[in-house]
Amino acid sequence: MRTERSHKAEKLIERMHEKVNRQAMLSLEACVHCGACTDQCHYVLANPGDPSYAPACKGDQLRRLFKAHMDWTGKLAPWWVGAKSVYTDKELEELMDTVFGKCTNCRRCSLVCPMGVDLASFNRMARGLLVHVGVMPAGVAAVAKDQWELGNQMGVLKEEYLETLSWMEEELETEYSGLHIPVDKAGADVLYAINPREVKYDPRTIAEAAAIFHLAGENWTMSSDGWDMTNFGLFNGDDELGASAAGRLYDAAHRLGAKKVVISECGHGFRSTRCEGPTWAKQDIGVPMESSIFTMLNYIRDGRIQVDPVRNSAPVTYHDPCNLARSCGITEEPRELLRAVCLDFREMVPNRAENFCCTGGGGAMSMSEYAPRRLKSASIKAEQLRATGARVVVTACHNCVDALADLIRHYKLDIEVKLLVNLVSNAMVR
């Protein structure tokens, strides 16, 4: 019987004792190994011969550790209930391979589990335990470092961000007279928070949002600090990072006295800021937060902007981002918005909370070592897309945009990826 344990393994076990709360404990205990989740995971469907992708099997990698140290049956008869501790750094690397490389925390298995086992939540916790002892994919470490140091995931400097806003304002000047992208305006009705990807790779979405706010006559602003609503703490399981990243945005809202925070299209960013952030930061925020999907939809409903769906005539389908559909309940509003701004909207099957992950969830896009696995599992999504016959797949998440674009290239699909803001902006009657 082994008794020698590496320092990191020792620390990970200590941390587990601190981090397991009642919800996690119940998810760790309640699994009856019925296998109902198995064929609901895109990794399993794309790798039918490999049982290590089965959600219950992935969950067991942490479950056996929990049972070995925190469950009396596991302590009494470990072999009987499948309890097993970790001893070496190599075993920690193997755990990392499972929790980072074989699961996107999409929560599809959680929603089909008859027992209510929330694998996605405790897989995130397992990631956090590993991150605590410095075991994580290199890309995860790099992105987390950027978010800690600069407050955003993509290493965007403040100057770069402000210059991009000015550049977009200039771009729009000829088309929209009097359009201004306000920064740090006190007492605005809306504080608009964005994804750093918009600054780095897709600034047109900032311009499009600005045009929508302008035409709607919104009293809005952006912040010079705490402008990033994304949060790598959700992906790497680090609650402290989650609290810090979300806290910067909450501070900005309080500092500027904003009446509402509007979060641009991003599944994990919305979930982190709106749902998880207050819990991580241990504070009640007191400022309403909404997704820009609702903002745009309300502008149309209230007649604050006019749209002409003829301008988006190509067949369109919608990809429900996991974090919006399965963790935030946002499924109907994007559809209402799409029906208002395009002519031919067709559902992907399955959809809403049963939709398959784009395969880029859980920070997968930052883990290049797992890209071949990710793209193989993407065959499920590719088939879903192909079956719609749509020419445009719309989503409400920048992360999904990248993952979908990647799989579209890989599987040579004749389809284009867009965000809702692209379609709304295109349909707007000026």
């Binding site: 009987w80 209930v81 027992m115 209510g116 819990t279």
Partner: protein, 226 residues
Amino acid sequence: MHELTPLLKFAEGKLQIATLVFMALVYVLKIRWILSFPAGRDRQAPAGASNAKRGVAFSLLAIAMPWTLASFRQHPLRYAQFVVFHLGVLLSIVMSLLIPYAPRLMRAPHVVLGLQAAFGLAALAGIFRLVRRISDRSMRAISSPDDYFSICLLILWLVSSAMAAPNHPKSGELALLIYFFLTAFFLVYVPFSKISHYLYYPFARWYLGRTLGRRGVYPLVRDHAH
């Protein structure tokens, strides 16, 4: 009235009470253990018209609404097995109380036949579940000795339930003795095995329902067109 042998009298009476008390004690300790873990708090503001209560109700009842769970909707036979198997187990628990305390309720031949049919079908469902666990590679990968032992034991218990259901000690007590000793073993073993999952079920589903209800995920909205 046939006089029971002291062994059967003991198996039906004192043994059952002692093991039931033992099980209850272990469950009290288990619930204390569950409650010793701090409950994570949800600080997010409720989303729209959603609320935690509706989410909890949906979460707890989802098991009875197979159309809401894709895993059951796509495998109706597995759901049927699940229902038949658990119904058989429930009826056997009830029978272990009826035989010693209200045998009159089991005198009608159609009641006995009905019970035997339920136990037989449940045992058959158990065999299907066991075969799947053994033959399916991904099921083998997630199965522990406790998983195999528990299902074997339940199948055996259901078969013994079918044999004991006529409750005719004068034509031989063996079936009743096997049934009651197995029941006693069960009562002692269950709290330490996966069979005690029903204790976790309401807690796990309550917390999941509370979180997802507050966020507007539960009750799930489905696409009925497809």
